[in-house]
Symmetry: C2
Subunit: 452 residues, 2 copies
């Protein structure tokens, strides 16, 4: 092949992270005249918005995961590398992957966020969060094991504690978890036990602000609260969690301090930047915000490093409306696509106007026939919102077989109220893993085993 | 309700184990005038014949699992108890579950079998077997991680070792694993890697006897070997494994001793009775065979204990053809159903002729359009056998949503050669777990982490 540039080595784009930001950047570079290396510590893209359905037994991990190599197998300019980035060397234009250097011309960092317990890291043991497949399996283990333990428990006080589920955080994940657990208790599991009435389970959703779903319009927050209450969820707003210990959640409402006896506490409250945030600030002099997110320029690059971009939950982009864009999938997708476009423009000696996020709205599922959708120009609730939510999630699932299987599962679950994936598997206290420098999976933290 | 027997407490049937034997016994007792308690350490029935498809990324664990409570929720006389049986007291007619006594009038023990390394337990670390969901996830981790490691490896000798897969045991499981890995290497993963050609993977199937699939007719063994060879599997019969160590399998063929450098070794060779076998022999004086299986009477009871039955892989029933029935699902199902019927007859003061196994044949999948089916009166191979295999497995899946999802996945995989469930998840070295007396999952053995 004769090419005007045949003596120039191709432009090397390295993308760290195969979430929405990194994957959409890679997909958008499919036909660009660049070499792309996508580095991730997992071999699959995870569709995180549906992770709560894995945690509550409606779907299997593979239903919402797509092997990165399979998604990108047709992108012949793209290489997938399984490994963890330990460091970055901006002077040498290298990332260090499991001890080995990988050179880049342009770097895109999209490693996302992890849970934050606001400095109370000892709460994690009692109140697991939901970011990875392993988190979801561990959460599923806790939820279904709690009903099993209640079935066996003869002491009524202990039994009530087993049947009490506290969800901390009234954002979309908290609302979706609370709604799904309420449906489990009142519908799916209703006929399954002989000693307990699962519909007597208490499900508490705790939110510090004065309403749940703060990013939505107030009338939709109200609607969500009403729907959750009808499902049997006890919604407590203006409620601060001051302590989480074995079996006891301590809350503060105004001046009142209360204790809730609960064996299952789920964390949906806070996130902070992943470890790459710190690496970037140290190596590039970039600034970060309180959550550790890297402050980016209007074109999503790092100040003084026009060839290093940060996209998705790791980025703090505040050049629009003066407040950082939220850590949601649509932001990450649009950022990834923008950077891919900008790289191609630059190779032609051109540029692009600054990144501009087009907010198409927010969605949250509550339960059957109940969801809230805020598209700005129109607000939906009830059946239409519910149907819209299903449609959007199927539409954005990456691979066609995921779409098909999730749709079939949902149709089946709809008619039977069943949730077939309610297996209690694995070792509960392996809920978060990482790959060490030898490529082995290692538990990040060994939690206390669940005392059933 | 007035009942002639209202002063008699109902007859208590306790079933230990929710595999094919235990579950089919429980289902057959649905309308009987007895109370049934089904005890299992897991909350789901596992359709083991398809477990190899989880290990090779074609299906998810939940696709082949059915929550026991859900399967039995309509059996109002049946209670499911999650727990492990530690002991049996035949005099008091009690089983001890996690320290607590459960009384029975009739006991059915159906706890199955586990891997056996013929006394070489140190091989387990290098050659995991396939009995549980966790085993399948760990095997999946190893298989897909081997391709990832090969992609990164620069030393050709090491790379070849990563691309060498040794399957020990040429029964149906070994044949099905070998065929599935060959299809992965030559079809599914073919476009996914950039540094390796996955179709260069070596897949060796080792069998000690003079042909694979010994229970089948010799011409079908030959057919299976031909089909596997066409798929790229290297079949070695009359081959004894004399040692398995890190990266090296030592084999003996006649007088020749050879070493095979392989990073992935999978065990499909031997099984032995589960721990309940020993408990039963100690407590009841029952005899057991070399594999630890309990010798049963013609009616599947234990000698001298007409109210204790053993069914499925744990039982040695040799009252037909003078050799023990094989440890396969149809035997367990028929035995479970027979005992359920016998219990109901006995309650009426009647009895049944001795158990008689109706052998409807054997099936093994090799790959697309290739399987072998031996129904005795007819032998199928190629496309018809393949289609028959699919049909039978869908038919026997317990729940309708399993049937639907597995069918959709298979149709999808058929047309795309994709296998969507090829996630590398979890911690590889947790490959087998048990529940301790407190109900906590504990790893049975902590294996060495995979050195990638």
């Amino acid at each position: 092949m004769v090419d005007a540039h045949e003596n120039n080595p191709p432009h090397e784009v390295v993308i760290v992270g195969g979430g929405f930001g990194g994957l959409y950047a890679a997909k958008s570079l499919k036909k660009a005249n660049v070499n792309v290396t996508l580095i991730d510590k997992r071999n699959f893209h995870l569709f995180q918005p549906l992770l709560y359905q894995v945690a509550t037994g409606a779907l299997s991990p593979a239903d919402i995961s797509s092997p990165l190599r399979s998604v990108l197998s047709k992108s012949k300019n793209t290489k997938v590398l399984l490994g963890e980035v330990d460091d970055i060397n901006p002077d040498a234009k290298q990332v260090i992957v499991s001890g080995e250097a990988v050179r880049y011309d342009t770097l895109i960092v999209a490693t996302g966020a992890k849970h934050s317990y606001f400095g109370k890291d000892d709460w994690e043991e009692f109140a697991p969060g939901l970011k990875t497949v392993e988190d979801a399996i561990a959460m599923r283990h806790r939820i279904f094991m709690a009903f099993e333990a209640a079935e066996k428990e003869s002491d009524p006080v202990q039994r009530q504690a087993w049947l009490t589920f506290v969800i901390v955080g009234g954002g979309p994940t908290g609302v979706e978890l609370a709604g799904a657990i309420a449906e489990l208790a009142t519908k799916t599991l209703k006929e399954d036990f002989r000693n307990i009435d699962t519909s007597e389970a208490r499900i508490l959703l705790l939110e510090g602000m004065d309403r749940i779903l703060p990013p939505f319009a107030p009338e939709l927050s109200q609607e969500a609260e009403t729907s959750l209450t009808q499902l049997g969820v006890n919604v407590q707003t203006k409620t601060l969690v001051t302590n989480i210990a074995d079996d006891i959640v301590t809350i503060k409402q105004g001046e009142d301090v209360k204790e809730i006896a609960a064996k299952t506490v789920l964390w949906a409250a806070g996130v902070k930047a992943s470890a790459m945030g710190k690496v970037l600030t140290e190596r590039t002099g970039a600034e970060s915000d309180r959550a550790g997110r890297v402050i980016v320029e209007p074109d999503l690059s790092i100040k003084g490093h026009p060839n290093i971009f940060v996209v998705g939950d790791l980025a703090n982009f505040a050049h629009q409306n003066n407040k950082p864009l939220p850590g949601v999938a649509p932001v990450a997708m649009q950022e990834g696509e923008y950077v891919a476009k900008l790289i191609q423009k630059r190779l032609k000696g051109e540029t692009l106007p600054q990144f501009n996020y087009v907010d198409r709205g927010s969605l949250a599922m509550i339960g059957q026939h109940a969801a809230v959708v805020d598209l700005g120009f129109i607000k939906l609730k009830g059946f239409f919102a519910w149907f819209f939510w299903l449609f959007v999630h199927i539409y954005f699932l990456i691979e066609f077989d995921n779409k098909l299987v999730v749709m079939i599962q949902w149709i089946w679950n709809y008619f039977t109220r069943n949730r077939g994936a309610r297996l209690i598997t694995g070792k509960e206290n392996i809920s978060s893993v990482a790959i060490d420098s030898n490529g082995n999976y290692q538990p990040v933290k060994t939690r206390q085993p669940l005392s059933v």
